[in-house]
């Protein structure tokens, strides 16, 4: 067992698993300190995720946007960029989807792809700005994307209210032909808000994997992320690749927005503050090792925390414990150097 843990080949999946384990342990410790029985808390969490068909459906509803923001952040990471702006790209994407959903009147088989495409394009455009500024002016993308998040929040809130028919809190409903929601899925899960978005998220992960692992373009992007100078020397267009990879990253985040606006709600909402999907995406990407398929799993895990934590409130555990566990998992995932060192030392003392 110890040899298994010490073997560096296994670290790729042992480290994320340990991060999750430590995250839940830390959550348990917080609960114990604050006088709550963690076993009851976690039992309520599990019940809140798989307790009945409806909760099961809501789990997938919560996971779909997280998978997309995870893919968005991961795409940036793989190409050497830190896209902390998935939140803003998500906001503009969700708005673009709703605009096309309200004002374009075409049959569903054209409408739905059009809606998704516009969300992706809007997200990509929002991602273009930090990409362009980094390529042209060497401005660091982290700060620009944070600023873009808040700009998006306020400007889109204004734009939603400016749409015809909007109230102070929401737009009008989108046309039924633009919606991802499905009576069938809703019925089999006891009237949850389950929609087709999850399948699209899985499709997104496959596209992610294909671009990164199976195309020359993806190889170039990774190469630029790994060593821009060497890539430039090898004849790759570094600046163009930075902009493109930021745009693709933004497109994934824009689709996350579509999951929410034309999947979960079917209208655009004026929000007082960012809902944290972008930051959660960092957690999803980190835990998913920035690889397409692992991101589906880590997205499902964080989706479970998000969906199930409100059920924990019934067991008199404040639902914010979900955020706390998530934060600890990110913290432990970020410490992977420390965890690897800890694993390498395991068992050495006895010898």
């Amino acid at each position: 067992m110890i040899d298994f843990l010490r073997n560096e080949k296994n670290h790729k999946f042992v480290v994320p698993l340990l991060s999750v384990l430590f995250g839940f342990l830390a959550g348990a410790i917080i609960m114990i300190i604050t006088g709550i029985n963690p076993l009851e808390g976690y039992r309520a969490l599990v019940k809140g995720v798989v307790g009945n068909p409806r909760k099961f459906g809501e789990w997938f509803v919560a996971s779909s946007p997280l998978i997309f923001t995870g893919l968005s952040v991961a795409f940036g990471f793989r190409t050497g960029l830190f896209n902390i702006g998935a939140e803003g790209q998500l906001i503009v994407g969700s708005f673009a989807a709703v605009v096309v959903g309200i004002f374009v009147d075409v049959p569903a088989y054209i409408h739905l792809p059009l809606v998704l495409m516009s969300a992706a394009v809007a997200g990509a455009l929002w991602g273009f700005v930090p990409g362009f500024l980094k390529a042209k002016y060497k401005v660091h993308e982290v700060v620009v994307t944070i600023m873009m998040n808040y700009s998006a929040l306020h400007l889109i809130n204004y734009a939603i209210k400016a749409l015809p028919g909007s109230t102070k809190t929401r737009s009008v409903d989108i046309l039924p032909s633009a919606s991802l929601s499905s009576e069938f899925l809703s019925n089999i899960t006891n009237h949850s808000r389950l929609h087709w978005g999850f399948l699209i998220a899985v499709l997104g992960a496959i596209v992610f994997w294909f671009i990164i692992e199976r195309t020359t373009f993806g190889y170039e992007l990774r190469s630029v992320g790994f060593n821009p100078t060497a890539s430039e020397y090898a004849g790759m267009k570094v600046n163009r690749n930075i902009i493109l990879s930021m745009m693709i990253s933004g497109a994934f985040a824009g689709l996350a927005g579509a999951m929410i606006s034309v999947g979960t709600f079917d209208y655009a909402r004026v929000i007082a503050s960012a809902e944290g999907y972008g930051f959660d995406g960092i957690a999803v990407a980190l835990l998913g090792n920035n690889s397409g398929f692992a991101i589906i799993i880590s997205g499902m895990l964080f989706g479970a925390l998000k969906a199930g934590s409100s059920a924990m409130a019934l067991a008199s555990v404040p639902k914010e414990i979900g955020h706390i566990i998530m934060a600890f998992i990110v913290l432990f995932a970020a410490m992977n150097y420390g965890i690897k060192r800890f694993l390498a030392r395991l068992g050495k003392e006895e010898k």
């Binding site: 830190f82 500024l133 620009v144 600023m147 306020h154 955020h323 998530m326 913290l331």
Partner: protein, 319 residues
């Protein structure tokens, strides 16, 4: 509204909104000058704000008017303690500093509301009676015009923060400690070879950022709010980060940038009373500081103003 009236209304508001930005931004300055990026300022402010609001509520019955000051001190200490997580993870464990800072923000957002539930059984703290009240500064408020605009109906904390900016300038640029701090942020290897303990200096930088952000959060909640909620800080930590860049990592620059962002926020609050501004939606004023920061970044680009070793973990073996 004529111009003089406009100044009289907007100046006290500017000073009030600028104080938390400046304080937190000065904290970020210590951390980033030592070479550690601190995206977690927002979270550290939340911790400070939550602690000070909670302590104020709890000690109010016995201490009365003194309680917000006890609250502020508690908030400062809590911010400092919480920043130790960021320091340990990013200095000792050499984690990615941006990710570590993100984790701080997530953790603070969850933990503060969680503790509100535990302590007060609601999503927010109880309301406090004794916040930091607006007051007249004796003598100075008697000066015509200036007295009305700057020294009556202001929070004393705004002036404490402005004074702090000057002290920070002195410490960072005129003392041996400041020189060491900057050396560690510019070229840790060289600093180390001169006998400066890089890890210790960076720890001090990060802890100072926690103390200052704790102060900023405390001032913000106690002067602008009646209780701590998940909306109390609403991105001010990120504005502080912007002010740090806008002010080119210089305390006096930070002071100016903080006042400017404070002014733009104040403008958003009173815009509906100003004739030609009332046509613009208030969301534009809220987005203004962020858009402006992006423009500033582009304008400053090329002249790399930031510390050179920023964001890079220091590994002794690589020297």
């Amino acid at each position: 509204m004529d111009f003089i009236q406009f100044i009289k209304i907007i100046m006290p508001l500017t000073l009030a909104s600028a104080a938390p930005i400046i304080s937190t931004s000065l904290g970020g300055l210590f951390s980033e000058r030592s070479g550690v990026v601190n995206i977690g300022l927002e979270g550290l402010m939340m911790i400070g704000a939550f602690t000070s609001a909670t302590v104020t509520v709890l000690v109010e019955p016995s201490l009365g008017v003194l309680s917000p000051w006890v609250g502020i001190i508690a908030g400062i200490i809590a911010g400092g303690l919480f920043s130790l997580i960021h320091a340990y993870v990013s200095i000792n464990l050499r984690a990615d500093q941006v990710i570590s800072g993100t984790a701080i923000n997530l953790l603070a957002g969850g933990l503060t509301i969680y503790l509100c539930q535990i302590i007060f059984n609601q999503q927010r703290t109880r309301t406090f009676l004794y916040g930091i009240k607006k007051q007249e500064i004796p003598f100075l408020s008697d000066i015509p015009l200036i007295g009305d605009a700057f020294f009556s109906k202001v929070h004393i904390t705004s002036f404490i923060v402005i004074l702090l900016a000057i002290i920070v300038w002195y410490v960072v640029f005129k003392t041996p400690f400041g020189l060491r701090l900057r050396a560690v942020g510019e070229h840790p290897g060289a600093a180390d070879s001169m006998g400066i303990n890089v890890y210790r200096m960076r720890y001090i930088g990060v802890i100072l950022s926690g103390l200052f952000a704790g102060l900023g959060g405390s001032i913000m909640v106690l002067s602008q709010d009646i209780q701590y909620t998940h909306m109390s800080i609403h991105g001010t930590g990120f504005i502080a980060l912007a002010a740090l860049i806008f002010g080119k990592w210089h305390p006096i620059g930070v002071l100016g940038a903080g006042l400017f962002f404070g002014f733009s926020q104040a403008l958003g609050v009173i815009a509906f009373q100003v004739p030609f501004l009332s046509k613009l939606p208030y969301e534009f004023f809220w987005a203004f500081p962020y858009v402006l920061t992006i423009i500033a970044l582009v304008v400053f680009s090329g002249k790399s103003a930031g510390p050179r070793a920023i964001g890079k973990p220091y590994d002794k073996g690589e020297r």
